[in-house]
Structures are given as C-alpha cells and as structure tokens.
Point group: C2
C-alpha cells in the first residue's frame, strides 16, 4: 500500500458490498481500559455426556444422535427458518413485509467434542467440504430455496452456545442483504468485462503480494484490501467457480488445506482457540444466470490485541461505517509469520 496511507486516516472501498471501511492506522497506540473477554480454556474431553451434539446423546427435542464417525447433519431443533406452506406479504410503500420459507441445519464437523477445525486433519476437513457441497446441492434443489448460507460461529464470544465443533446451514427463499449486494456488484462487473471480478482482483493481489498469506495450486488465502475485522481473511479459489459445487473432486483437499492453514495460524496468533464467524458466499440456487458469481469463504474474527481484547463494532460502526486501526497489510504480515506449511 502506498506509504501515505500507512499513517493517515483513510477509507477503503469494498468492491463486493460497495461500502467503505474507515482505517485509522495512527490509532493503534490507544490504551485499553474496557471490557476483556473470558476465553474458556480448551481442555475439553473427547466426549461430553451433557453435550447435545456428541454421538449417541439426546437433543432438546428428545431425538438421539447416531454414533456418527465423521460429519453429522440434522435439522435445527430451533430453526429461525421453517418451511411455510402459506405465503403472505404486506406493502403500502412504507410498511413492507413478506413471509420467508427456509430450512436450517446443523453440521457437526467431528464426533470428537474436544476438537476444532484447527485440530482436525486435512482429510477430516475434506469430509466437511464434501458435506457442504452435497447440502448446497440438495437444499438448492428444493423449489422454495434460492440461497444456501453456510456458516460457523466459533467461540462463546461469537454467540456459540456449544463448543462441540459444528457449523450451520440456513437456506431460504430470498437473497439475504449481503448476498444481494455481492450479486449486484459481481453481475455489473461481469456484464461489463465478461470476466470474474474476483478473479481479476486475485490476479492483482498475487502481483502486489502484500496481503496474500498462503496459496496452493487452487486457492489463495488473503486479507482483503477492504477487511473490516482486525484479522479478517478470505479464501479465494484461483479458478472461476460459481459455487462450491463446482470444485473439482481433486481440489477439495486443497480447499481443506487452506482452511486448516488459516485456522491453525489463528490459534497461534493469541495462543487461544481463536473465535470467529466464517461463511461462504456463492451463487443463488434458483437463478439461471450465475456466471458472474465467484464463490469465496470469509473469516470474521473479533479479537484485536490479545485473547481477551476484542474490537467492538458499536456506535460509530453501527451508525456510520466500520472502522479499524491496524491496516490489512500489517494484519497480513502478522498472519504470514504464523503459517506452517508442512505438517
């Protein structure tokens, strides 16, 4: 990044959401006297009889989990979205609402209660990737489903109520806000240039080589230029794929490697089981024209300076725009130094 941006407050543009982030590099010296998080110790047993996600245990609704051996998927017992038979809408211009139909699932990444993605082998992570692919495909085939949101909330500080390694898949009939923004920006770029916007962006990032923290044959892991969270990261496929369903079978292991590399670097950063929310953005499932979509996975981790001091996205951030202190470049440098490639 040009030198003058290293010390002056500036805004950076997110080409996907078309929104800005305020960067204040000079502000890193600010002392912190506020709330510190409690990061629970990670010494967990491999099996916890009170955990509703462990194999063989009973869930809140009385159902019993099978004795699963790798990935286990079930419908969320308290789903935010359900399959509605009825559809209503109300719209007088100023008061506008419509019913929404969907299916919410929980995906256990491993039967081992003590693990997280960072402690799983690449082969084990690959099984999670395969499960995501098949859920995207299956849910997408449902007529009422047009979008499949795969995500993980990791850590208590991210509202995760159970430490058992798991993620969620919420699928629904309409395009959610964030997806809609990325749909529009990518579509506009693609119809103008007839190329994937993120493929062009990645090409530049690889040339500049200032924010790339890892790459293998098929994927790059980078801190996006417009990152909001202090150690935000994006996994980008090098070839233009609309959804994870298009990952060739030979490459799923490389995507798993990228996930493994970044989650292990995260755990080393502040020497804790690093909290984050991660998610995959990809093509809607009902639309005939998805050529412009280039799927990607993002990690949004809340920690700023240590295992206990997080970045608060509050007043200014809620009312004006996201704000960060350390630059994307310096975060990338820190993460680069924590990457272990041979394992």
């Amino acid at each position: 990044m040009e030198d003058y941006f290293k010390n002056l407050a500036h805004r950076r543009f997110n080409i996907l959401t078309e929104e800005w982030v305020l960067v204040s590099p000079h502000r890193t010296k600010r002392p912190w006297q506020g709330q510190e998080e409690e990061i629970p110790k990670v010494d967990r047993p491999s099996y916890d009889k009170s955990c509703y996600l462990c194999p063989g245990n009973k869930r809140a609704n009385g159902e019993q989990n099978p004795n699963y051996e790798d990935v286990f998927i079930f419908e969320n017992d308290f789903a935010a979205l359900t399959q509605n038979n009825e559809a209503y809408e109300t719209n007088n211009g100023l008061i506008k609402a419509e019913t929404e139909s969907g299916i919410c699932k929980v995906i256990c990444f491993s039967p081992d209660h003590s693990k997280s993605l960072a402690q799983m082998s690449i082969d084990e992570i690959k099984k999670v990737v395969l499960a995501w692919q098949s859920e995207y495909f299956k849910l997408g085939r449902e007529e009422a489903i047009n979008y499949v949101q795969i995500f993980e909330n990791k850590g208590e500080v991210m509202g995760c109520s159970n430490p058992h390694p798991h993620g969620q898949i919420w699928s629904q009939s309409s395009l959610p806000n964030e997806v809609d923004k990325k749909d529009k920006s990518q579509r506009r770029y693609h119809s103008k240039n007839n190329r994937s916007m993120l493929a062009d962006y990645l090409k530049q990032e690889l040339e500049i080589n200032e924010r790339i923290i890892f790459e293998n044959k098929s994927y790059a892991v980078l801190v996006p230029f417009w990152a909001i969270w202090p150690f935000e990261v994006m996994i980008l496929p090098k070839s233009h794929q609309n959804s994870i369903y298009q990952i060739p079978p030979s490459e799923t292991i490389l995507f798993a490697e990228a996930i493994s590399v970044i989650t292990r670097a995260y755990d080393k950063l502040f020497n804790c089981s690093f909290p984050y929310s991660s998610g995959i953005h990809q093509a809607p499932t009902n639309s005939a024209n998805n050529k412009h979509w280039h799927w990607h996975m993002n990690f949004y981790p809340p920690l700023l300076r240590s295992a206990t001091v997080k970045k608060f996205m509050v007043g200014y951030e809620m009312f004006a725009s996201p704000q960060r202190d350390i630059t994307a470049e310096s975060a990338a440098k820190t993460l680069q130094s924590l990457i272990q490639i041979n394992f």
Copy 2:
C-alpha cells in the same frame, strides 16, 4: 401487525437503509446455554480520582479537565479521524482508497461520575441537546467537514471503556455508509412525493398505534417496524426538520424528555444500567439540498432476555442479514408498560 406474521418467519423492509431483517417469532422458546455478560454493578461514586473524564482530573495526554459544571467537550485524545492537510486517492477499479479528514470529540454529559442519562434531570439532558446542536453547527461550518455523527456507546458490553456519562462526535469529509443509504432513500421519496418520508411513516405509525411507546407534543418514541435489535427504539420529531439544529428553542426540552423517558424505561426492563449504542442521523453539512432529510435518533441495545443474555449478531447476521426473534410489536408492548410519564 397482521396475525399471520405473528407466528411465521418473515422479512421486513427498512425503508431508510433499503435492507431486510429476518424475523422468527416462533423461535423465542429457544433455550440459552451460551455466554452471559457481566453487567457491572452501578454503585459508582460521584467523583472517581482515576477517571480521566471527571472534572479536574488529568487525561492520558497530560491535559487537565476544567472543573466543569454541566457539559464538557474536548477533542478525542486518540482520534480515529484527524485533520489531514494532504489528500490522496488510489483507484484502479478494484483497489480503491482515499484519505479522510475529520475531527473527533468527546462530550461529557455530566460532571457526576455516578450518573447516566437515565438518572439526569430533563433540564440536565437539555444541556446535552444544546451542546449537540452547537457542535453540529460549529463542526459543520468547517470546510472539510460534511457529516457530523453524534453517538454514545453505553456500557462495557458496548465497548465503552469508561462508565463516566459521555458520548462522542465524529465528524468527517465524506458521507459514511449508513448515512449515504438514508440520504438516497429519503431523497428519492422526497423528489417523488414532495414530502418527508419519515413524516409520512410517523403518520402511519400514529394511526396504527402498535409500536408507539411514548409521545409528547413534538416527538414520538417508537420501535421501528424494521427494528433489528430486540429493544431497538427510534425518536422521531413530529415536524419535518433536516437536522437537530432546526429544533426550535422551545422544543429542546421535549426532545430531552423523550430521551429521559426511553432511557429510564430501558433501565427498568432488566433492572440494570441498560447498555446501548445510540446515534443521531441527520442532514450532511455541506450539501445545498437537504430538504429530504428528517433527522432521527436511534437506540441499539444488545440485550435480549435479561441483564446478562444478549443477542449475538454473528454468522448468519454478518453473512446474510440481521435476524431477530421477538417481534417489534411485542418489544413495543413491553417497553410501553415500563414508561413512567410523571416524574
């Protein structure tokens, strides 16, 4: 709200940001096993010698606070925005940034360390309102300033590092994301209808009378139809004013009353010093055409079920759209029951 929306998942449209919120009214039965917040006890002394905001004390940069008697304003010692003499930008289409200039101030609401707005008299709050007005005017006169964001982060859970009653004012040269959205939506409505969008909206809300929690001659306090946070609230002036600078002198006390009423209801809700971020959205200061702007103040409180259980805006919310369980109507009903008008 129509009955079928009371039990079915649905989306509601925010006419100001033009984004959607997912509402899952059937989900309120979900048990909670996750992180609980610690809400510090509110027994604070009126003066704390270690507080850098108390009258007469020294701040981090060595400056000494005056022995102020009501409101005290100073420039933020660790400002995220500063007045840059240089302006740069970089833009190749995909990598786009520009320097940003601004002024950040801190505003102490009271010399009394132990208070919050809820414990201050309406006359004391009126002094805060007058200070906001004059800061909006003074900062707005600076050539480099086009937007003045007034906000408060209250409580440790909102990243507030000092319990002394205070807010912040960040002013800057460009329109932040959230303001830009509201600028566009209001402008479009106004040029089509030649009326204020929020005045029309308020008229409807007053007729429906389902989400209004308080009103006086000049202001309504309501839970907006599209509220995101469980107990989100909006203060709306009944007459069409572009900015708080247009509040007639005789009405500042009524705005102060609205603030007092809602902050006291909040404290009663879960019997704690209620955390929130609040902010005022109003007209930019450099633009010649601001007729479409109708200023308003929002409160975004994080608590969901009790003083210790908050709503987490995480995975789905970050990657897809905000999601809430209790409806705006039921939150309004709860808050209505806590309003005390005579005091």
